[in-house]
Symmetry: C2
Subunit: 296 residues, 2 copies
Amino acid sequence: MFDYKLLAALAAVVEQAGFERAAAVLGLSQSAVSQRIKLLEARVGQPVLLRGVPPRPTELGQRLLNHVQQVRLLERDLQGQVPTLDENRLPERLRIALNADSLATWWAEAVAPFCTEHAVLLDHVVEDQAVGLKRMRAGEVAGCVCAAERPLAGARSQYLGAMRYRALASPAFQRRYLGSQPSAETLARAPAIVFGPDDRLQHRYMASIGGSDGFIHHLCPSSEGFVRMLQSGLGWGLVPQLQVRGELARGELVDVLSGPPIDVPLYWHHWRNGGALLDELTRHLLRCAGRWLVTE
Amino acid sequence: MFDYKLLAALAAVVEQAGFERAAAVLGLSQSAVSQRIKLLEARVGQPVLLRGVPPRPTELGQRLLNHVQQVRLLERDLQGQVPTLDENRLPERLRIALNADSLATWWAEAVAPFCTEHAVLLDHVVEDQAVGLKRMRAGEVAGCVCAAERPLAGARSQYLGAMRYRALASPAFQRRYLGSQPSAETLARAPAIVFGPDDRLQHRYMASIGGSDGFIHHLCPSSEGFVRMLQSGLGWGLVPQLQVRGELARGELVDVLSGPPIDVPLYWHHWRNGGALLDELTRHLLRCAGRWLVTE
């Protein structure tokens, strides 16, 4: 069998984003952690870590991490039956990648009963909905909520529902930039707010109303900051309806045009052989996601 | 003088996080952008970009970017006096690094009047308050809001005020984990929520009340997700008071212990020779930040 002391050292360095913190978590000296990584590299005959800040796994390192993640989940199942196997048993951790807007809206409420019942701690990794799967491919996470449907080899993908986005702005912004007859042309000349370089929602919306692709925009990589910028009248942008129910009800944000909303489908990706806990989370999410996501 | 066509290509590749998008922004073919980067590297005799996904500047590349950022700000001043100099004049962009909690709370409202008056678009880069300065050192941003006081060479640092954090949880969490006599010991056994590996606020709070450093925690790198996790009863954690005024007023979140809040000082860092626009933003921030930050 593999030497799991070595693999655990690799996992700790990547998860803790550094040798010093990895050493603290493992209760070892930093040089002991270093030794274990070197020994692992000697065994597999290739580097497993790129020594940067933070250290990143090589392709081989990622395959090993993927394996560690799956072994951990299987161990947890066994511990349910043989509770004394691991003397230092801590609550189980699940590492999940998801899009920022899910984390900012429905996710916590959805997973709370699951976490409480099973005493699970969550490590969240925020990734744009278009690129979240790369964390799974890298073996860093057990599951992933993202807009891509196609599962990775060894994983399953299940539809959760869609996140409904509306193009919103403050009433003052609306008056100032769009006037009494808002149109795709006037909107194209008003500043937009875009989450980051991977966020194409505003562009999709513009295309859907026949507007131009070349609009000016602020960049704001924060779900809550995005809403604060809309409220302050700095621009217009697409926001999950779930996130701004209060602002909409109070009239602090309004639709910029009467066009249809944009629905972004969300899929739950998880390893097939991820063990009972991950299967339980899957069942739980499929059962309850419809409370927050659009499923018709 | 330098060849600014080459430097602009470098800036676009880094700012747009890729050659393809850089080409689109510059209105060039991707191979033309590539050619310019290669020519720049031939001139300076060293690589300026690490070709990864996304491409990152080398140390020399970062120094060049820093220079581009400053030249752009100076150009803007000149354009105020000679408006026809740049025929394709777009609204000016300022790139700012700041901590996620500022972006989630006071920042948008504070900068809105400045952006509207000067027709400025903002590119926000979120960095933990302890490490935001590295973006300035890298020449990627014109200014930075962070907890470090000491300015970089060529820059100034000015005190804005402090962000007040309170250790909060939901009433249900409070009852379940802390019972009728909450103490540092009971709190240490309850799950915490931590923003990310660099977030030491919960540890500081524990130390301030005499608790242990080894508490269990979820990780949630999203300001809004953090509050949603608190509300769902998944853990306790330190939140900017500004961000949860509604939740506190409605009793959806309560103080876990009667201990004092934690104040995190915030400083505004900006280049000394950053031009009139950056100076104006500095004056504006110093004038108004006290409306949201604690300054006594």
